[in-house]
Subunit: 123 residues, 3 copies
């Protein structure tokens, strides 16, 4: 069976908790090899990408958004940030963790992925 593909969209910081729980349950349900997952953050939601995510010694806790993002990235989940939103939030790209992919516009990324057959989920 071909793997399913999904792109998650988040533009509000308050939705990180439910989104990350969704991703975790999804992997548990389908099995890691049967689903390709990309999370695209734009708007205010990009702020969490800089929130202590680089401090490796602090991100082991499953209670922290940054740690949960890091742990899912280790499982092969892709995380993207919208460049326009980073600029609007005065966040420097070079300070982002290496595993975060910066895209010119988050909305474009969401459209391109859907055109490639990805399902869309907005928690």
């Amino acid at each position: 069976m071909e793997a399913y593909k999904v792109v998650f969209h988040i533009d509000e910081s308050s939705k990180w908790g439910i989104l990350l729980a969704n991703v975790k349950n999804l992997i548990k349900d389908l099995g890691r090899d049967n689903i390709i997952i990309e999370v695209v953050a734009n708007g205010a939601a990009v702020a969490e990408y800089l929130n202590d995510i680089n401090e490796a010694n602090d991100i082991s806790s499953e209670n922290e958004v940054a740690g949960r993002i890091y742990n899912l990235s280790k499982l092969g989940v892709d995380f993207a940030a919208c460049r326009n939103s980073l600029a609007a939030n005065k966040m420097e790209e070079k300070l982002l963790p290496d595993f975060i992919k910066v895209v010119p516009a988050g909305i474009t990324e969401l459209i391109k992925k859907q055109a490639e057959g990805y399902s869309y989920i907005k928690p």
Copy 2:
């Protein structure tokens, strides 16, 4: 003409009112035979599935969420609940009305339906 297919996603209890109005208007607009509808609830939104929905004598009112869900199910609209969310809300599956379909993970259901050609709507 082949029927349209749509999957509605709800993860916040406060969105039931607008979602059920959307479904009702959709059926009225396209005609019952021209649209296949499934509603997938996860997160906190699953709570309404137990809210007096079993009390047949109380669900005739169009003003109550539970009654409106029941009435739409009679019209052939499918309603699904995420098992993970039921557990998180300490809801017993056996207490759910028979017409509610329990799925292992709501997000997986939403992805599979889109892969089958369903449109996605998040009110």
Copy 3:
């Protein structure tokens, strides 16, 4: 390359700011000729369509929702309003600006567009 196609869904008035910024950035990123955009408003979000949008002398400001809608329509972005929602908000169709397309049901429009290959975005 064939142009990408996207339908934006808005049902809360508070989301107009982020939606219009999304549309603007999208056009800037892909180029006007490479993307076909329709915005479908239903629920309470239709109210902005009447909010001074007809007063041409007041809509030059990029700070006002109505002005930004008007300016994007000039760039070829389509804006649609749900007839059910207009009625629910006691808004007269004949008072809407000419460039607003009234559709019988906003949800139907969103489903039809996705069935035609449009991506779906809900800011």
